[in-house]
Symmetry: C2
């Protein structure tokens, strides 16, 4: 085999990347650590742009607080953007693409809001933007959907896309911990943001779902158009209800064809029965089920967050580019995308404490009603379009809504 090992390949060539890195938080630091451990001279961090120069003294890289220092450095031939601020991230990514530089971004919110422009900009400039690390950390879900699952055969992509909220739900359902206590533990362990709304109200999952949907089904749907509802209103009664039905509450992002030409999207709690794959996704893990016409179900599971898992996912994006990889957006460019719809009904559990909230939603069909002095619920069918319309009211009321499929 020696004759193979020593030969050169036509495509990999001798490209190497000197990275201009923006951000040195959990993931930026994770990328640095992973690179330290790797034996490669093809990828190195040349400069790091941070807000606060006085921090990070222990890392052996060249820090700056000026983006110009990176973009004016002729040796920088690759941009990696790992900052929190989505507005600044958008500027960095656009500037990189316009300069013809390949760029990796980890900013879900920015990507979810600007994917259409960023796809156009890649086309105009010829530069490539990669962002597998932005959705599900170490699970290579975007590239797999892009490369492996043909649109016509793909039926749904569903999953637990946020590790922090899942960690909380695991503690509540497996260890009987109270919701507030579980949230605090998640924060103490660094799994949840100090402002937990991003995680527990479903926004983080929503951004990932939008990105995933582009690569799964080739369509872009803006965040505002998608029903997004989290777990922060779940109370002890809801937990008891789920336990009685031998189900667990999971916060699920769903992209699902409801017929050959229509796609539904949502982020909301589901009452998941024991036989489902995602029932067993625990703690801070993510799990994605890809369902297709002929291959039935595929399940991908792994750490969805954290500096090192996400740092190694960022590195994967970078090394893919060493081999010339770029997203082709094949499904976007096909002429057979499904159309986004909210015009369908599905079965939900709807708990309301105040009897007046009963009429917050119009049910097309009611399977069960329960009333008592302290808690009330309905099980029945509601239209997704109504949920999109009433999302804000639902978030504010003392009610809890969860998909409750028959299976």
């Amino acid at each position: 085999m020696n004759n193979i090992s020593n030969s050169s390949t036509p495509t990999s060539t001798d490209v190497s990347f000197s990275i201009g890195l923006f951000g040195f938080g959990t993931v930026g630091r994770g990328l640095y650590d992973v690179l330290q451990r790797l034996h490669t001279d093809r990828v190195s961090i040349r400069r790091v742009c941070v807000k606060h120069l006085e921090r990070h003294r222990d890392a052996d890289v060249c820090f700056t607080d000026s983006a110009d220092d990176i973009f004016n450095d002729e040796k920088v031939n690759f941009i990696v953007e790992l900052i929190d601020d989505d507005v600044a991230a958008y500027d960095i990514v656009c500037r990189a693409l316009r300069a013809g530089l390949p760029v990796v971004s980890g900013n879900k919110k920015m990507l979810a809001r600007h994917l259409p422009e960023l796809i156009c900009l890649q086309e105009e400039t010829g530069a490539a933007l990669l962002y597998d690390a932005s959705a599900c950390g170490s699970i290579p879900v975007i590239r797999n959907l892009e490369e492996y699952y043909d649109n016509d055969l793909l039926q749904s992509v569903k999953g637990i896309l946020n590790g922090s909220s899942n960690f909380i739900l695991s503690k509540v359902f497996n260890e009987g911990m109270g919701y507030a206590e579980a949230l605090k533990l998640a924060q103490d362990l660094g799994f949840a943001e100090s402002n937990p709304s991003l995680d527990i109200d479903g926004w983080d999952s929503l951004y990932k779902l939008i990105i995933v949907t582009m690569h799964a089904f080739g369509i872009y749907v803006a965040p505002e158009a998608i029903f997004t509802y989290g777990i922060s209103r779940m109370n002890d009664y809801d937990i008891q209800f789920a336990n009685e039905k031998q189900r667990r509450v999971k916060l699920v992002g769903t992209a699902e064809k409801i017929d050959d030409s229509h796609l539904s999207l949502s982020v909301m709690p589901h009452l998941i029965s024991r036989q489902k794959y995602i029932y067993s996704v625990e703690d801070e893990f993510n799990g994605v089920v890809i369902k297709g016409l002929f291959y039935y179900k595929q399940f991908m599971f792994g750490r969805g967050a954290g500096g090192h898992p996400t740092g190694s996912a960022v590195l994967s994006d970078i090394t893919a580019r060493l081999y010339g990889y770029r997203y082709e957006y094949k499904k976007l460019r096909s002429d057979r995308q499904p159309a986004y719809t909210t015009d369908f009904s599905f079965r939900v559990y709807f708990r309301y404490t105040n009897p007046a909230d009963r009429h917050l939603l119009t049910f097309e069909h009611v399977d069960e009603t329960y009333t008592s002095a302290t808690n009330n619920y309905l099980v029945g069918y509601v239209c997704m379009s109504e949920l999109v319309q009433k999302a804000e009211q639902l978030r504010k009321a003392d009610v809890f809504l969860a998909a409750y499929p028959l299976d």
Copy 2:
């Protein structure tokens, strides 16, 4: 977004494939079905070469029993080889590559035996050979290992690579079915070959492991050099032992770095504890755990066999080629492959019925011994090199050997 949808991409071009297909068994037929359902004019089956022309009358394709009819047809620009006979498969694949035709193969045994030559031949001719469908059916494990998991960070790839044997083990451990009865059921349901040795003695898993190892760690190890031991000698006592320890027997293919520069490979039963991911892989499913330094564990799970799942995996190989995809064998070409070793010890359960078989293996350290009138066992540490040497004797004796790690 319309301006994007209608634009053309530089790389996908307007290639289309007219396939010359060899074999119309379960998988060939599966590919045909999947293509019928797909709305594409870029991939079509032009001719199918089969042994028995009189069968397959119901499929609307042009059959032949002569390979020349396919290779002499100037319109055929893609070869798909899905036949059982590994010698004939090798000839077809070589002939295709030499003719400069891209080829997809599903023949694990052929690939496992001839990978080095086939890699050289791809390089000589410039033609591409793809075979993701050969390992784990619908789980895209090869392409993920090739593209996504860097060698230096990758620690192990372990999994249930054979659906038939796993189906039998599931019936035995979950439903208390006898081994013989479970085997018969697997055969009746079409999960197991009429000659079950390929499945239950581990050969099918071995071939997949060899292919996976090339893309995971960049080295080729010949089948003869790898300890391969199946489940056909497992008896009721072994099942009882596993149950008492709250473990399940699973037939596991393992490629694992034992240190920074050495790799171990094996196919053998493991006594798997409840907290392991593969403990829950049931029935005819496959599950692969990819473990790395920074991303911890990834788990991929799906249908490993069957006409439609594997047919859609074959289609994935074909459509990847529409976009110019080929395996780069990046890890083979790096200068940091681990070396294959059998020079390490590990903990096993060794049951022997005949007391004389006690000395079939030399134990470096014994943790437990048990003797009785009917069954005897040892738990202790053996060297892998000894197992490779004594594999044939172990297969013939009335003994059962399973890895029995402490965790």
